[in-house]
Symmetry: C2
Subunit: 238 residues, 2 copies
């Protein structure tokens, strides 16, 4: 009964916004939706469950996209950033519901904890998919985890700005493109010793991306970078 | 009464491991510690609070370290990674208590949610400290957030391996050094256009870190990197 589910969700959010989350009972939600208490519990496990999106269905779609990633060094991270777009589009399609959930979870600590915790599933999904690419073993997969974390962080940064109303739909899509571009740059660096750069034994790391330039074109930048780099030291004590 | 607090915590963990978290009452914890119920509630707000570390004190120490970061491009990210070491050392000092907490939070969903959610505070702390360095505005601080996220992810990756018993104390310190080194490489790339590298107009980005090498030493790596780079293309459809 998807109609009942949607009606219950709508009723719940209306009551949460009117009288607060804690003060709202399952009976009130069911009554407002014009159904009985048992109908509520056929649709949702608890009052809290009304709030959260169907993460399972979304996770399955993202997982399906991630399964198409091969171990091709050039394309796996790009495919992963594309999978992140699926998640943003899901929230954009939810529209006001997503924004109402954001206001609510921000104001109730246990809901916020659950919301934050739900991002763990996405991080794990991206990490496991990227492990083929980094060539790491389960449990010893730092690179895959850092890259996955960056993708999720970049996505959530943009999503949060949209949820707050700082960005409209078009602005959010554009911001996600830019954010994922930044992450791709950083991925190139974290994978540098295996893939697109080189590490010298004395600790100097050189990362070169997006070739097309000759060494001669690149040289002035390298000289400048070497010249203005400082030795790596911590800041002096305040 | 720090002794009472420690005794209550010890009693609580012993009971949680023996008979499970849900089945253990505050009265049982107090009785085992040889104190009354009201003494328990002077030390802790709830049964759940016994489990979690004193995040406030730890966050204050990390914040104090982060306050010493200036806007110096060379040292701010390194100082931030050093602040992450403070957190690892805190857990290493807790020893078995930290490992018992890990087993417990892994098995009780609401505890796990709270544990995961507590990392948000650290992410925010690092993000705000790094914003001076990235030169971003609050709310529009993607770079600072991605870098902060990478530091926290790298730290938690190593911490988790130690909590599971995959690493001993020395192994964890070593693994954190390597993990933070990886993050520093990625920071260099995410900040490349503004700080420690250079972007050419044709899209080639060169990042050079940890100077000490001459251009001549670095050249072979650059040639190799330019030679084996592939153009950035999306994956072919599966």
């Amino acid at each position: 009964m998807p109609d009942t589910t949607a009606r219950l969700r709508e009723a719940a959010y209306a009551l949460f916004e009117q009288q607060g989350y804690a003060a709202t009972t399952v009976d009130q939600i069911a009554a407002r939706a014009g159904v009985g208490r048992s109908t509520f519990f056929r649709a949702f496990g608890s009052k809290e469950d009304v709030i959260f999106p169907d993460h399972e269905a979304l996770v399955a779609r993202v997982a399906a996209r991630l399964e198409t990633l091969g171990s091709d060094p050039g394309s796996a991270p790009i495919g992963a950033t594309e999978a992140a777009r699926i998640v943003l589009e899901h929230y954009l399609a939810e529209g006001d519901l997503a924004r109402a959930r954001y206001r609510l979870t921000a104001s109730v600590p246990t809901l916020r904890d659950r919301e934050v915790s739900s991002t763990t599933g996405y991080r794990r999904l991206f990490r496991d998919a990227l492990r083929t690419w980094t060539g790491e073993e389960p449990g010893d997969d730092l690179r895959a985890e850092v890259i996955a974390g960056s993708i999720v962080t970049a996505h959530n940064h943009v999503l949060r700005r949209w949820l707050r109303g700082d960005l409209d739909d078009a602005g959010a899509r554009e911001a996600l493109d830019r954010a994922l571009g930044l992450v791709l740059t950083s991925i190139s660096a974290t994978a540098s010793d295996a893939r697109s750069g080189a590490a010298l034994r004395d600790g100097t790391t050189v990362v070169v991306m997006r070739s097309g330039a000759t060494v001669e074109q690149v040289l002035p930048q390298i000289r400048a970078a070497l010249g203005r780099e400082r030795p790596h030291e911590g800041p002096s004590p305040a």
